[in-house]
Symmetry: C2
Subunit: 468 residues, 2 copies
């Protein structure tokens, strides 16, 4: 496999660069081996694959010289932990990633097979290449280079690689409380984010929270003949459409009572920061094959994504979905709905409000079940944090320009969890290109981002060691 990254980065001075160059081919083979394990946490039939990915990762950590490597049980998929404690007097950095991935479907839209990774045009293609297995391997390659060349890391590191991030990290909080010795330190680096449009290096300083639910509605025991019954009984599919439609007004504001109560309005400074971000509307739309921007009136597209809460249907189904026509009234219909939340919105409170709004919009006599499938708080890192500055210096040294500071639309519940539970500074130092197709067909990682990421991590740990 030729070594042809597409994003320029500056080599390290000295022997670590030589080690990294020499190890490149083997590193690519291990990258592909990791991606071949279909560790889809959301699908019960992949539970064994999740465990296999955890074991693979533990074995890799042992190989490179990490200490106290353990596949630690949770109520669900295990968490892989390891550490390298060089000296109790040095700062200790907790490094987080996740080895689970999104499902591979819809398979017919992949140009390659999601779990048969391949390098093409300077990118690694495959599910998890960017989100988040590739970013875990960036940290492992950095540690391997430092231990090989120096025999030590410049700071103490603790690795926490979970297996349920794509399933709302349902067991992580309890695990952290039960294992404080495996996740305490001076600061946390989370590598599960990416660069800005144009592949510009960036540090994510804001993330949205999330609440995810499923609504199941039923009106009869069996599908009914739409001629014999049509017009005289509730049609659950029509009712569900009505219920979903009722959640937005014509300005695309969410109508759920209380939804905006805890949303801090965007300040003039916030809006200026959003306006300063480069945004190429034509490229943005062309990148996803969309015709138009769309969303809450009164806000720009970057504000809508980074600074405002949303409500989206993630899936909907009911009745006859095959070819041709079947004249039934479905017995039941279903939807998965999630809200992206901004700071100060409480996910549990919003979940309850959406459930209540769905029930209020349902016709009397319809059976309605609502299930919470996961919650996560929103997150903000204060500008000027010394660990954030160390990461920024490492990015600048590696990629030759100051990073942008961005507030992302996605959710990494653990970011808020570390911040809220452990009271630690949290830096989101992520490396994926903005066109990584995470959560979509044809996910890929630019190998320039990947290789530059390794150098950035080494430089960042050195910069942290130099903090007074």
């Amino acid at each position: 496999m030729p070594y042809t990254p597409t994003l320029a980065w500056k080599p390290l001075d000295g022997a670590e660069e030589a080690q990294l160059v020499a190890a490149h081919a083997a590193r690519m083979e291990r990258y592909a081996a990791f991606l071949r394990i279909p560790s889809v946490s959301a699908l019960p039939e992949h539970a064994a694959d999740c465990r296999a990915a955890a074991e693979w990762l533990a074995s890799e950590l042992r190989r490179i010289g990490a200490q106290r490597v353990e596949v630690s049980e949770t109520g669900g998929h295990p968490i892989v932990v390891a550490e390298r404690i060089e000296d109790p007097a040095l700062p200790t950095i907790v490094i987080y990633g996740h080895y689970d991935v999104q499902p591979g479907d819809p398979l017919d839209l992949w140009k390659t097979s999601p779990f048969e990774p391949i390098v093409r045009d300077g990118r690694m293609l495959g599910r998890g290449s960017a989100d988040d297995k590739g970013q875990i391997l960036i940290h492992l390659a950095a540690l391997e280079a430092m231990l090989t060349v120096r025999g030590a890391a410049p700071v103490n590191v603790r690795y926490v690689f979970e297996g349920e991030e794509e399933s709302s990290s349902v067991n992580l909080e309890a695990w952290m409380r039960a294992h404080p010795d495996r996740c305490t330190g001076d600061a946390v680096i989370i590598s599960d984010s990416g660069f800005f449009d144009g592949n510009v290096p960036a540090l994510t300083v804001g993330l949205r929270g999330i609440t995810y639910l499923q609504v199941d509605v039923r009106a009869s025991d069996v599908d009914l003949h739409s001629g014999s019954y049509g017009g005289s009984v509730i049609n659950p599919a029509n009712a569900l459409a009505d219920m979903i439609a009722s959640l937005h007004d014509t300005q695309r504001r969410v109508t759920v009572p209380g939804f905006y109560d805890d949303v801090t309005p965007l300040s003039d400074k916030d809006r200026a920061a959003f306006a300063a971000l480069p945004f190429d509307q034509v490229a943005y739309l062309a990148g996803i094959g969309a015709n138009t921007l769309y969303g809450e009136e009164g806000y720009s597209s970057v504000e809508r994504r980074g600074g405002r809460p949303t409500l989206d249907v993630n899936g909907i189904w009911g009745g006859f979905t095959g070819d041709g026509s079947k004249t039934i009234i479905p017995a039941h219909a279903h939807a998965k709905i999630s809200c992206r939340l901004v700071t100060d919105q409480d996910p549990e409170k919003i979940y309850a409000a959406v459930e209540a709004a769905l029930r209020a919009a349902a016709p009397a006599g319809l059976q309605v079940e609502v299930t919470n499938l996961g919650n996560g708080h929103a997150f903000l890192t204060p500008l000027g944090d010394p660990y954030l500055d160390a990461a920024a210096a490492a990015l600048t040294a590696t990629f030759g320009r100051e990073p942008l500071y961005i507030r992302e639309g996605g959710s990494i519940p653990i970011a808020a969890l570390f911040q809220r539970e452990l009271k630690l500074p949290v830096v989101l130092l992520g490396f994926t290109p903005p066109d990584d197709n995470a959560h979509a067909p044809n996910e890929s990682m630019d190998l320039g981002n990947f290789e530059g990421g390794i150098r950035t991590v080494i430089r960042a740990l050195d910069a942290i060691a130099a903090l007074d």
Copy 2:
């Protein structure tokens, strides 16, 4: 298999009754053999099964002594035709049924397997037992008994058994025009309807029409990460819910412009006839496991089903529908929607109006495709028609009470087709029990209805022969 029908009927006088009793066991075996062929016309993978059902039926017609038996090609599934012309001076009755069936899904709600028929508690269970293979076999058994005992039928009969009734009879009209000699006569008997609540013998004198469509909406090339994109692009699933919700108002009237333009308002006489029909709300709801009646304000339940047009979602799908959570904005979403129509509504005009309403309700920039999957006109038989009276007399003689005259909510496009194209009187003489679960899991035919149906057909043909 014991001979235990649950609905009482009166035996024929004479040798035909003895022939029918003697042939019962063999008849049940043939009934099961016919049901074992999964002739699902809507699913392309069952095309060969549809042809097998047609060939089985043709072979059966030859066995009992029908003439000019032919499996006649159409652009889709073939039509089985046959006749028995005793004397050109006698009236000729065209008898219609359909050998295709609804899909078997959802399989998990069947107590038995849909295509492994079984007799239990006086019923034949299986897909097609009632709709409509069982009713075809009623006619064949009647002809077989008459030919065996008398050597002749009392009138001329022409059989037209199509294979696309559950797919909106898309090829039937063209076939009829190309084969006028196979479907002309003095009157038409269609056996694809049933008895009224309580299994009361009934003649269906009204049927609703139908237009069936699929709407496909798309906003991007691929599924998008709901965090990175949520709030800034159109969500096709939300948009489709909005579009569907816009088709009804809060009184459950259809809001499609022009929808009610050609609907003849119910007269006082119509409303009196509907009010005279026995309707047990508790039993009706319990029979389907529903909590409540529901529908257009200002109309009774029987009026809503028989006398008013409706719009129902038959299926809806899009995005992630597996277990757990996947945080995507779907690239596309889909629904199947059909309208039941009443006399004077033109299906093509209503289809165009619904398509226009869906497009008008879609946000700008959403790609919307609408496809017409079938149309059928509504139908009314005038009370006092002599062939209707002959059928009523046969029902009365067989089941010991006058039939009800009902307007059904379902659609049999061929009824309007014969009436409109061939200008023939059409009598809907159907025998299924009202709890037959047609189009649903656990479809079944009461063997009392089945056996009584055979006697009724013999009596009806004799009564028609006696018309002056």
